[in-house]
């Protein structure tokens, strides 16, 4: 499928709202990595992340007529992924995290350093999913996805001071659990 060049998100959204599902397909194509990565960081395992990302996109299609372009399409999509992720986490009520199914970076370094680095990332990923969701979501969006405080506030529909407060708690909690592990 053609992409990247040309048509901005807003145009594709408008066409998708007109019923061109192919325009929506281009949007899914364009944002699939972003949506899946957020879902993965929020849920901690690939199988669940796949469900979350899929449900989120289908939900986006269903509620596309309510999207008014007040924020960027990515912000809106992030919000849907986060909400679907939250629903799922609430439904399953903290089953153990499947570390083996976690996504780890490809092997590029010498074997010893890679194992060391992967272990650190595994510990971190499970420490992130151990955070309460109201801390986990802002932490993932800000520290891992690179959203600004304002964007996180927009995505989560909370105020910027609330984002900062939750990030403070999340950083402390994460630092103590990483320290306890090391």
């Amino acid at each position: 499928m053609h992409d990247e060049r040309g048509l901005p998100d807003a145009h594709l959204v408008a066409r998708a709202q007109d019923g061109y599902d192919e325009a929506f397909e281009l949007l899914v194509q364009r944002h699939r990595v972003r949506a899946f990565r957020l879902a993965l960081r929020l849920t901690g395992n690939r199988a669940e992340a796949e469900d979350v990302a899929q449900d989120a996109f289908v939900q986006a299609w269903r509620s596309l007529h309510r999207f008014r372009g007040e924020s960027a399409f990515t912000t809106w999509l992030y919000r849907i992924v986060t909400n679907v992720g939250l629903n799922r986490v609430q439904r399953r009520r903290e089953t153990p995290v499947d570390v083996a199914a976690m996504d780890l970076p490809p092997v590029i370094d010498g074997p010893d350093r890679v194992i060391e680095a992967n272990e650190a990332l595994e510990r971190l990923a499970s420490a992130v999913t151990a955070l309460p969701f109201d801390q986990r979501a802002p932490l993932v969006l800000h520290a891992l996805e690179g959203c600004s405080y304002e964007e996180v506030a927009d995505i989560l529909k909370i105020t910027v001071p609330a984002v900062k407060g939750r990030l403070h708690r999340a950083r402390r909690a994460l630092a103590s659990s990483l320290r306890a592990d090391s």
Binding site: G6, V33, A143, A175
Partner: protein
Amino acid sequence: MSGLDLGADRLPCGAAVDGLLEQVADRARPADPVHQRDCPHCRAALHEFAALWEPVRALAAAEVEPPSDLVTNVMLQVRALTRDGWHAVLAGPLGSTRIATWVSAVIARRAAGRVPGVLLSLGRAGPMAAPATGSLSTGAGPSGSRQRQARGVGVAGGDVVISLEVVVEYGRDLHAVSAAVRREVIRYVEAMTGLTVLEVHVTVVDVET
């Protein structure tokens, strides 16, 4: 021993722990650079937290590859939502053949993409699909019932109407390109589906170099 007391609000020197954590995590400017430069408490805390935070940067930078069938699975569900009942039907002596209308749209898009000067195309097909106009977007949305009525859902028989949006290379004769698109779309859709293409609406949405 540890310079970073995560249970306290402030270090013994009075610096706010949250401020130091934020400074490291966001690579932000220190609140009090003069104090920090010489304060052993601050320096120890910053040093320790920087080490603890390192994996977070690595995780943020780690590449994630979504499942290869993610887009396909999403679009199957999307099309199931949109296109229920949307089939062109060709009756034959041994039974009828139903072709989901979006199949025609895909064929049309690919056919249009082959025309020199066409950089990008989006296809939409339906039994009575109207050309893209603003009035459609004021309906209830892609899954809304009003819009379905507006586009005429129902038994399609062997006829199909196709709408295409194209982006054309700058400098081309737009009428000539549109005519070529129309010709190719009719040729491919009719050859591959056996349906009769009643109309092909082409909208040039942009020109690019």
